[in-house]
């Protein structure tokens, strides 16, 4: 039920209705001619409607949410509370620097913390999502080569295990994508990498640990191959949670990195944003950072502009990124401290390996049992599908009935019928054991009563959604009954 369907003409809350006349002085040509199509409802109807909707949420605040590659960890309430302090909220983005020194100090400190934890020489907080961070990163690689007149480099190498955003980013920046395969251990195929690398190579985009949930052990050899060919190394920070404070991408030889603050630094996400995709760079890419960057001079904070960084790739948003999200990430980082960041990586990895070991013990097929998991791992439901016809998607839907958000399904595509499971560091052993039990129960159901699993979910507000129809005939526009003429 939509709020529009609760609408009755003339119903309103007098206490909240505007009680002054419409603004005057707007030219007649600019005034709208029709009333906007807004629902009309009483205050109590609105409160009940949205409260009910919120109760239907299946979220990290209500359920275990092991969505692989998404790092759905608990978002501490303190981050929210402090980022919502009235002086942060009330500050205008165009307010003079002198009157916003507190905010600028937070951003500066966050830049410094991120530099330190990733081993990079400089950080810009401006990208407003992970994908925009990727775009900024590759745009800087391009700007670097262009500034040197090294314009014959037309290719970006991307392993086949990469997130789909990697090749998309390379194409958006005008590059051709060269895909290289993964070997049987889940590592980059070095021979294929050597064969793909040459004077045409602008760079390599690598996620480490990879989306297969394993740490790329050959990273030193990889960085040498790319750097010897004159290319640069891009670190996709999707899986930074696994190594936070333990291994620095800068030490691995990466030239540029994007960090999903909405994953690793625990800002809320899952509903399509807002995100924050801060970028970090090595020394040679400093001149190209997206603006503004906060700097400190003589105990006061300022924005660097085009005057300071004339080779910058420019601005990525009208103001200063998703600043509310950046503040939450800052508070989170400060609450953790350096020791806390080590514990994030340790417990994220411990939880993933515990869960992987328990599922392996329970007879599930782990994709890389010989490898230690990073912060996530893959289980294949192919044996179950071959035996019962129940697919990974069926299992995922049934998990909802058992009170668990499903893991990522069918990604990465390299493993058939896969589930990519990332428990994160914030879950207890009891929750992990409960998840293992739920998967065991579903496996039993798949053998005994497969129709029960095929018809899942059964306890959610909606049953199995028609994702084919949704993809083919996407229609998100509400039309009032009167505006749709009868056929």
């Amino acid at each position: 039920m939509l709020i529009f369907e609760r609408s009755h003409p003339g119903r309103r809350n007098a206490a909240q209705a505007p009680h002054h006349a419409a603004a005057s002085g707007i030219p007649a040509a600019m005034l709208r001619k029709d009333q906007p199509l807004l629902p009309e409802a009483s205050e109590m109807d609105v409160v009940r409607h949205y409260t009910r909707l919120s109760q239907k949420n299946f979220s990290i605040d209500t359920h275990f949410y092991p969505l692989g590659s998404c790092t759905m960890k608990y978002n501490p309430r303190a981050c929210n509370t402090l980022a919502m302090l009235p002086n942060f909220l009330a500050r205008h983005p165009l307010a003079p620097e002198a009157s916003g020194q507190g905010m600028l100090a937070c951003l500066y400190d966050l830049q410094e913390i991120l530099k330190d934890v990733t081993g990079m020489a400089g950080v810009s907080l401006m990208p407003m999502a992970g994908a925009q961070g990727e775009f900024a990163g590759i745009a800087m690689i391009r700007a670097y080569h262009d500034a040197r007149g090294d314009t014959a480099r037309t290719e970006i190498i991307v392993p086949d295990a990469a997130h789909g955003t990697n090749p998309a980013t390379a194409v958006m920046c005008g590059y051709t994508v060269k895909e290289i395969p993964t070997d049987a251990n889940g590592d980059v195929d070095l021979d294929a990498l050597r064969a793909a690398t040459g004077p045409q190579t602008a760079g390599l985009m690598l996620t480490n640990p990879s989306t297969l949930g394993v740490f790329e052990k050959q990273i030193q050899a990889i960085q040498k191959i790319i750097h010897d060919a004159g290319g640069l190394l891009y670190y996709d920070g999707a899986n930074l949670n696994a190594i936070l404070g333990k291994v620095k991408p800068g030490d691995m030889g990466f030239d540029v990195i994007h960090m999903n603050l909405h994953k690793t630094f625990s800002t809320p996400h899952g509903g399509g944003g807002p995100g924050a995709g801060a970028v970090g760079v090595a020394q040679r890419l400093l001149p190209f950072l997206p603006l503004p960057v906060v700097t400190r001079q003589d105990e006061s904070y300022h924005y660097l502009t085009e005057k300071d960084l004339p080779q910058s790739i420019g601005h990525l948003s009208a103001f200063t990124g998703n600043i509310g999200i950046l503040l939450r990430a800052y508070v989170y980082a400060r609450m953790l401290g350096a020791d806390g960041m080590h514990r994030v990586a340790e417990f994220a990895t411990l939880n993933a390996n515990y869960l992987m070991a328990e599922l392996h013990k329970a007879g599930f097929t782990v994709a890389f049992p010989q490898r230690r998991a990073s912060h996530e791992f893959i289980v294949s439901m192919k044996p179950l599908k071959d035996a019962t016809g129940i697919s990974a998607m069926d299992v995922a839907k049934r998990l909802l009935d058992k009170g668990f958000h499903p893991p990522t399904t069918y990604f990465p595509m390299l493993v058939p019928e896969c589930m990519l499971i990332e428990p994160t560091e914030t879950e207890s052993k009891e929750t992990l054991d409960g998840f293992v039990n739920a998967l065991k129960e579903i496996r039993d159901e798949a053998h005994a009563t497969p129709e029960l699993v095929k018809g899942a979910p059964r306890t959610m507000p909606v049953r199995r959604l028609d994702d084919v129809k949704a993809a083919r005939e996407l229609d998100l526009t509400w039309k009032t009954p009167t505006s749709t003429a009868p056929e």
Partner: protein
């Protein structure tokens, strides 16, 4: 559904059918459509485009993933199956009838050198975990 014995195949899961006029039709295999699941979108190359063997030239998108389709041999695109624009599910129904595009190969020996059904089946079996 078995792979037609009179077709040729690639390791990247395209099938190739030789037509009487010397052109070849290209589609994706039963194995590929099964892995991808319900198709929602097909993007074909432009007619007249010159392709090199193994070049990315088309995209099939399902509810699970988008996958590139590669030119099996070098040649020129001479036709595309525009019926798939509005009915991509035809690939799921019968992948060996739902051709995507036709090419005129630069060299017909390239087509003859592609895998036969038995060799392709061995590739599929080796991929099964």
């Amino acid at each position: 559904m078995s792979n037609p014995a009179n077709f040729k195949y690639t390791a990247s899961h395209e099938w190739v059918r030789s037509e009487a006029d010397g052109t070849i039709s290209i589609g994706i295999t039963q194995h590929a459509q099964e892995l991808l699941g319900d198709m929602v979108f097909v993007e074909n190359p432009a007619v007249g485009r010159k392709l090199k063997a193994k070049e990315e030239c088309a995209v099939v998108e399902s509810v699970k993933a988008a996958a590139d389709v590669y030119a099996p041999v070098s040649g020129e695109v001479v036709a595309v199956n525009s019926e798939l624009d509005s009915a991509p599910e035809a690939i799921n129904v019968d992948p060996y009838a739902a051709w995507m595009f036709r090419m005129r190969p630069d060299n017909s020996a390239d087509v003859a050198a592609l895998m036969d059904a038995a060799a392709y089946q061995a590739v599929v079996d080796s991929e099964a975990h």
